[in-house]
Amino acid sequence: MALEKITQVTGRGVYVPGEDIDTDRIIPARFMKCITFDGLGEFAFYDERKAADGSLKPHPLNEERYVGAKFLLSGSNFGCGSSREHAPQALYRYGFRAVIAESFAEIFFGNSITLGMPCAVMAHDDIQALAGLIESDPAILITLDLLEGKVTAADMDFPATLPPHAKEALVQGKWDAIADLLESVDEIKNVASGLAYFKAA
């Protein structure tokens, strides 16, 4: 099961401001009544984008000029709350291929890496500067270079980091752990047989 080696992401961006943007906002729970992830993209940030009567609210994702963005920029503690993989799945299926924020909630971060969607941390002022570039020219191309640990846009670049393990997983094409996990079934059985509660079952 060879996975793509993700070393770079290039595309346009959109800035969704806010701290502590939680997974209920990214994908409201009522859209999780499903048995596949297909079609979740259209529900990303649904209640932020649409009023109860279906009319559009002011939201960056409703603006024509940001359609097709591959980068989502936001504030700190992005993706806090529920463990629902539906959240990164919805963002990925919406079309995002990377998220840039000041910090990430842990479960959201892990779920995103498993999908091959890098979550890079940038400093507050750098995110503001990058958001400013996007605002003045939404067509501007942004590049996240995982190996170099930086984001480039126009003639500016900014430090952008991932924890070493996540970076390695992406650049080595090992972001979905299942293949590695399946390699050690004998060792798994060995550890399991040493645990009293496991044996008793």
Binding site: M1, P17, G18, E19, D20, D22, D24, R25, P28, A29, R30, M32, K33, C34, I35, T36, F37, D47, A52, S76, N77, C80, G81, S82, S83, R84, E85, H86, P88, S103, F104, A105, E106, I107, G110, N111, T114, L115, H165, E168, Q172, K174, D176, A177, I178, D180, L181, L182, S184, V185, E187, I188, V191, A192, L195, A196, Y197, F198, A200, A201
Partner: protein
Amino acid sequence: MSKTLLDKVWEAHTVRKLPNGATQLLIGTHLIHEVTSPQAFGMLRDLGLKVLYPQRTFATVDHIVPTDEREEPFSDPLADEMIKALRANCDEFGIKFFDLPTGAQGIVHIVGPEQGITQPGTTIACGDSHTSTHGAFGAIAFGIGTSQVRDVLATQTMALHKPKVRRINVDGKLAPGVYAKDVILHIIRKLGVNGGIGYAYEYGGSTFDNFTQEERMTVCNMSIEGGARVGYVNPDDTTFDYLKGRPFAPKAEEWDAAVARWRSFASDPDATYDDVVNFRAEDIGPTITWGINPGQAIFIDENVPTPAELPEKDRATAEEALVHMNLAPGKPIKGTKVDVAFLGSCTNGRLSDLTEVARFVKGRKVKDGVKAIVVPGSQGVSQIAEKMGLAEIFRDAGFEWRGAGCSMCLGMNPDKLVGHQLCASSSNRNFKGRQGSPTGRTVLMSPIMVAAAALTGEITDAREVFDIK
């Protein structure tokens, strides 16, 4: 070298180091429910994989079950499809399912402990962030995404990074009318909703030593709301007494050995921590949220904050919260009108929560115009509560007595807020839209405070309503 419980459990369950530096960790107990598992079973089928240890996965149905109709098919066809999918998956892969007709169904984090499946010194995973609840038994318990549910089904392991450990001490005696829920809301208020990122929280100190097992569960449950994926309490006699005699607990002939083993997992007295934070129980009052995340909390007798007086970083969220909540800065939150009162959830839907509240609402009446519902966390809780006469007390007081499930904690079943309704809720999240209406408003609080709100129709101090001194 002295070790924490986390160190010991981690070592005992490590399979190997993976090439990217992560640990392949054995997950001894896997809990699943209908929302985050169907896609995982789909992935298994796509990859042609089997469940490696079906006897170590346990299923229940909680998020989507209606609490006022138990007949199938459910009137919501999507919910009906989800329960049927879980049934089919459990049948196909040989997984034990605490299904509706078993009498043992309930919220996954209430069923695991109640069945004695949750045990000290074990690793537990579930596709739900409130899995941290099980840490109350001295287990290391992770909320996981669906791809990881697949990983655990296929290999009984996950790729994980060992968290740091922050010891949180709470010492002293809580004042009357102050509960475990207030303790965790206070901790999150002080350490922040992102303060726990990268940490496991080890809770201890004399307040925790004196807590019942169910009070410990309430605290561990909300660890994730403080950013900590894992929270735990070292196991002691309180833990062992709670487990004794439960269906999946070790039987009599194995009991003493199990207790000795469990005890050995507790953190060593001289264990060192990456961080230590101390609280005094006497400093904690009845705590409620005023905003749109669980860290935006105040004592009941404090005023709603004024954004300009908050640290700069918190101001924008505070402004947004005040607009959403329709609350005035600098004014008391007491007296705010309540439309709905919800008593239940994996945070506060246990027998002890219902027993404590029933003591105070007996003989009193829910205020006209307030919709008040009590949702036992499991069918097990419900059965005992009915036998004890608690259901009757609640019904007589004007509460609706419902079937077990997640109910109004999140908008995945018919129990939802409507429009701008404000809900006094014993649940764990006050995110915008969390309770099913995008404009609905949630105020988190202890069960006793929910009861006071139900009876008076406003946010109020339970100590005054019930004359608690």
